[in-house]
């Protein structure tokens, strides 16, 4: 069920001897932070300054606490999926405690969940809905580093702040239909079943979702102290 934006990766195929070595060393090491990832969510992100550019985003998440999740974002859910970004999800309580200047970088999840557009592949509806009831009330902060939607074969350029859908009419119909058909889901049918879900208790904060503005990340060269300005410290 790979995403339709897959392109060939530049570079040579992995040699067999390398693959065998990888497996051998992996057997010795622990992968605690990775093994803790237990949840796959599929949704859509758009660029913080360009709603017309939308990306299918597969989140692989672990809980740091009941109020904080950290997710790796991939462009698909297959073995060759590209790691394109990260997302952090926080409860309403943690969001409200953020400084005012920080809040616009975060987006609300209520619309995505209640509209059915955010879902958990392969999880039956009743279990999925129980799990998503909590997501409905959270805020997320997402950065992408690889603009696969414009055909980049490598992660190029500055990082991108991403935003999430907040109302009907934003999501591109072609992307929606593609996901629905690949996963055998219907956003419309699921929306009806999720009508009971509640969003943020205090409503969507006016500063969230870019405070309604477009936001872009810009790289600037800054002067550093001369490299010899600190004494040599490493022995």
């Amino acid at each position: 069920m790979a995403a339709t934006t897959q392109v060939d990766m530049p570079g040579k195929p992995t040699e067999t001897v390398t693959a065998v070595l990888d497996t051998a060393t992996a057997a010795i090491q622990n992968f605690h932070p990775i093994n803790k990832i237990h949840q796959h969510l599929c949704a859509f992100h758009f660029y913080g300054d360009d709603m017309t550019r939308q990306v299918e985003a597969h989140h692989f998440c672990s809980h740091q606490s009941e109020d904080l999740r950290q997710c790796l974002i991939y462009d698909g859910d297959g073995p060759d999926a590209r790691l394109i970004g990260v997302e952090y999800l926080v409860s309403e309580e943690l969001f409200l405690a953020l400084p005012e200047a920080e809040k616009p970088l975060w987006h609300s999840h209520e619309y995505e969940v209640r509209s059915g557009v955010l879902f958990m592949p392969r999880v039956p509806g009743p279990i999925e809905r129980r799990a998503l009831e909590q997501v409905c009330r959270t805020y997320g902060k997402t950065f992408h580093f690889w603009q696969v939607d414009r055909g980049d074969r490598l992660p190029l350029g500055p990082p991108q702040l991403m935003m999430a859908l907040t109302r009907d009419g934003q999501l591109r119909e072609d992307l929606a239909k593609d996901v629905e058909s690949r996963y055998g889901v219907s956003f419309e049918k699921e929306r009806e079943k999720r009508e009971y879900m509640e969003g943020q208790a205090k409503g969507i904060h006016p500063l969230a979702n870019g405070a309604g503005k477009g936001l872009r990340l810009v790289l600037t060269e800054v002067d550093l102290p001369p490299v010899s300005s600190v004494p040599r410290a490493f022995v």
């Binding site: 090491q29 796959h40 017309t52 790796l72 990260v86 999880v123 010899s228 004494p231 040599r232």
Partner: protein, 235 residues
Amino acid sequence: MADGCDMPPGKPMSAEKTVIDKGAEMLQSLKPLKHFKQQFCSFALFSHDPIRQIETHHFCSRLNHDFHQCAVYNSDSTSAQLIGVEYVISESLFKTLSPEERKLWHSHAHEVKTGLLACPRVPESLYRKEIAEFAKTYGKFWCTWQVDRGDRLPMGPPALMASPQGVNLGWVRPDLVKKRDDRYGISAAELREKRADIEEPDTIEGSNADYWVKCGKGFSVDVVETAMNLRAPFP
């Protein structure tokens, strides 16, 4: 534990939520995660402020012979915080990058040869070939959670990271290295001796990697307000 590893904000997971998550988890395949095969520990510097240095734990999956994508954490424990993403490419892929893009990438030879980069618990002989190849690769590392400055949640835009280098501002503080070495019962100095014969990478014409070392300039990332390109009202 690396710095910043105190209790995450938020409530511990309740039994009820854990059961719901477990039920869903059993049904999902989480394929991209099965490809995390390499794990290593090293150090990185903030490109806009190289005095700030952090211990990093990379969990990497190889997309092909020339490309790795890594989830970066601040420790290798189950409570590790996801602090960023690094992409690692071979010399041949690096040569395909534009001069401007190359400024965002760093070399790995110094941290490999000085023993800063380590694979705890794995006998050096098992990954000797890998590490010799790694010494010739280039990385692009975005840090999304600046735990070293005490952020309890990821704040602000991502920061571009740089790698340790053989100039005074690029040396890693001995106390950071010792803390890491003591925790794992390893010695960077011993690794350095074992790796003395690892080949340096070829010099690439117009490389621009480790731009800060050559030009005394780092990169800061700023959030800028702009007009959002819309296809529907927002938010």
